[in-house]
Amino acid sequence: MFIHRLRYLLLAISLFGSVPAFACESGQSCIEKGQWDIGIAFGIGARSNPLVDGNTFPNIILIDVAWYGDQIYFDNGELGFRLIENQKTGFETYLVIDREAAYFDLLHPGNFSISSLISPTTGQPIPPDNQTLDSEEVRLSLDDIRDRKWAVNLGGRYHYYTEKGEVSFSYETDVSSVHQGSKAALSYEHYWSGDDWQLSIRPSVLWKSDKLVNYYYGVSAQDFPDNDIRYTAKGGLQPSLSLTYTKRFSEDWYWVANLSYQKLHSSMVASPIVDENNVSSVFLGLGYRF
């Protein structure tokens, strides 16, 4: 499956050919071609974890790593190939590690416990003894379920640039045969900038498919081979809003502030392994660019 999808990627590359030369405007997120751009920020902050017993992640270190060639690029874990880049539009294909599994790998709850079963309003719960269950009791800890694997997605992203922002649309599908699902994102980013500062706001809508959501947030026989607990999670839309502020106060040092909020869709929230209806994040710190 992976090889099959890579063929489409190679075909697309050959069809589009080379990218015309394009000069990045001052004020945009520019990077020098052929040179690593590495930044590290230390500060205070936290990122919530929507899973049951999910500990809030401390945001102490933020890393920003990017390298861009004429067409190939690496940007914070995303390996891509730019097919179109001009003043108004851009299009690239890329491979990226799906971040959905991050909630699962970073948590190591100590206790194994199954409180009860799941909400009768969603999924296909099979309550024992035909009793009505309190949905508040239907919470499964991470150690109750099988490990969720990391997936690698193949994606395509289109950009339309305006004078002070951009509209982007991306679509990604799993090429590692982990969940075989897909997701899409539509976002608009607007920024204001001064001589030494930039403020950007980015409202987005993220769509996740049934397969993706069910793999990570569903409860199946693989989780409980000897039990009747089941939950089928459905795909849905997740709106989000992100604010980023950077201010340069010396040649290499920056203030970095980031606020993000992502609303989770109802079928994911109703999962017995999910406890929160949103993921929020805050970070304030000092960044250094090497």
Binding site: K33, G80, E251, F283
Partner: protein, 139 residues
Amino acid sequence: MSTKNSNLKTCIGRYWVVLSLLCLHYGVFAQAPQKAYISWRVQPKVCIVAKLGDSCEMALLISTDGLKPGKYCYFKNNQKMHCKTFNQAEDTVVVKFSQHTVLELRDQNDTILLSHEIQIKARNRKPQTRRVRQPWSLF
């Protein structure tokens, strides 16, 4: 002879009337607005930095011509910098910027009298490109 003198006077009289009308039409006798006659010269016009995004701080030497003594304000990209009273034709203003900047001189009525664009250029010749993802973003 007297007929010739009479014709000459008539001709001069007619030209005088036409000349007077032209002068009135183009406002020679009227008080012209200040903006139409003033100009300035700003140096330097370009600041060189090591790489795009670096900030540049430099003192601009400004020479004005036709500017009446009075209080005027400097604006940088529509943001007020400071105001001062102009008594002489030359002035120096320190500007810090990291992208193309428009410097303006406005009067007390916020009317733009003079405008000048200061450019910033990178010294290195390596091409720049636009990142496809927002730096420092958490999502």
